[in-house]
Subunit: 288 residues, 2 copies
DNA sequence: ATGAAACTCTCACCTTGCGATAGGGTTTTC
DNA sequence: GAAAACCCTATCGCAAGGTGAGAGTTTCAT
């Protein structure tokens, strides 16, 4: 015991325990100049704190709880300027609002991802043909600059990039969380001409804020075929078309290739998708 | 141009531009093994990407948008296990809920801090005596283990620490964002005996979840005096008592020392507070 | 073909708020 | 007086890259 100037000086360990913090934290604050021990032994370098310095520590904790960084805290403590505090707090509030909005979006995206995976698990085997009622959907997309069926996969990638650029330019966040679709015009498809018409995303309410000119895909009965690879799309589309013809189903709208899930954890290099090819067929009752 | 194996290989810069990302990011993913260029020139080390690798990049972005860390993404991509994805996503959802709750708490705390600072700006000069109606308040506190008026400031610090420990043990977050008060029993105060009775925090709705046994401080008219330093409390309390006596105000409850703001950006080492000492006085109309 | 501009490489250090050692001194306690 | 507990400095590590420095490569225009 060398130096004992005042009544109750605390070693760093006691100070840490008293404030429910750790020794490295106090050393860190010391280094940053946030909380200098009231006395440091010149010979040993031991730090000794005054119990009154709890006040300063509390203040630091308080500001941390408000979301201020240590640097911001230091600047406030240095400047002795309460107006600065108010400025920073106002900024923090803004920032928190943004963060909450972002987290909500993320939450929605995760929900979509989970149900998409669930759907994948429960979907029929590849090649299965079905007849389903599909609800109305909103899409946003662009005409295909290139007919990717006529070229290799890279032209599909390019078309998709155009779409993503467009979405990015419009400031839409989380563009990767929307599932993608492509379409072929009804008449082309019915004649067996597979020529890409549009590439789009399936939109949801969150996108309404961005004033996109979205299109509606009407509800109705669809003939569908499930596939687990993009490579088989043309083959699948042909099969679907033959099926419609042999069953006497009358095609009444554009063909759509819907990407049900893009969680391609199966094939490393390619865009491996789980697809539902679909084409609306006419079952309408005549109204009298 | 040394190596050109396939048709369309992209340099790292083009790949980055195409995907709205940066070159360091792609290099980073390469290092982590997340996205290895499909070809690397052995002589120059130049990275060349296949356009199909956009798929992989999209997948990574997608998972990032869902809040997964690069390490988690890597493990999913390595394992080829979609169940793992679902597990992680469920965890993420939990985590997001916690984050949102935390942010809301923080937002409330900031609002409180801002109005506290505003209040400070608009408060009367130190020494001002006033008569105010104060609404009902909820408090949670503990009896003072030590009578800090009888000792030095360090015993106040210790009492405050007991309270904080208690709150921490009960798992209450952001304990520093609640303002502190102390009280003296009515009879003690009225007799000029300043003996600390309780130390407490002013609670709010967020604390109701923690099943604390909170006390109520009744609404009513209070004689108050504003002070800007803890050092002056006893002096201020005496003045307030004299004032009540000379004005014929009848004290009808415990004396309270309320910390209006603890944003002590003015004095470095001490706990510098802005205080409102207050004591309830009786103005009740007799009911007939 | 050549020179300049643009591009790319690796390496290493910076950010936040500490936690976790390593290696060596100090204080307290029995 | 010795052991236990405590403390020091210094460095590395974390996540996801950003920002250079210094050197080599490719591309474009002449």
């Amino acid at each position: 015991m060398r130096c004992r100037i005042e009544g109750s000086l605390l070693s760093i360990g006691k100070m840490a325990a008293m404030n429910h913090t750790t020794i490295p934290t106090l050393r860190h604050y010391d280094k940053l100049g946030l909380l200098k021990p009231s006395h440091v032994d010149i010979n040993t370098g031991y730090r000794y704190y005054d119990i009154q310095q709890n006040a300063r520590f509390d203040l630091i904790e308080y500001m941390k709880e408000l979301g201020m960084s240590l640097k911001e805290i230091a600047s406030v403590l240095d400047c002795h300027d309460s107006a600065l505090v108010e400025t920073i707090l106002a900024q923090k509030n803004e920032q928190i609002h943004r963060q909450i909005r972002g987290l909500k979006l993320r939450h929605d995206a995760i929900e979509r991802a989970i149900s998409s995976l669930e759907r994948y698990r429960k979907s029929p085997a590849t090649g299965t043909i079905s007849l389903e009622y599909i609800d109305r959907r909103l899409i946003y997309g662009i005409p295909c600059p290139e007919d990717f069926y006529a070229h290799d996969i890279s032209s599909y990638e390019r078309d998709l990039l155009y779409l993503r650029h467009d979405l990015m330019d419009k400031g839409i966040p989380q563009i990767h969380t929307y599932s993608v679709g492509t379409s072929i015009k009804k008449d082309d498809y019915a004649s067996g001409i597979f020529r890409a018409d549009r590439v789009f995303i399936f939109a949801d309410k969150a996108l309404e804020d961005y004033h996109l000119s979205m299109d509606i895909i009407d509800s109705g009965m669809y003939a569908c075929i499930y596939l687990d690879s993009y490579d088989k799309e043309i083959e699948g589309a042909s099969m679907l078309l033959s099926h419609c013809k042999s069953e006497g189903l009358s095609i009444c709208g554009d063909y759509i290739c819907e990407v049900l899930t893009e969680f391609n954890v199966f094939d490393d290099e390619k865009r491996g998708m789980f697809l539902r090819l679909q084409v609306p067929v006419d079952f309408s009752r005549k109204r009298i």
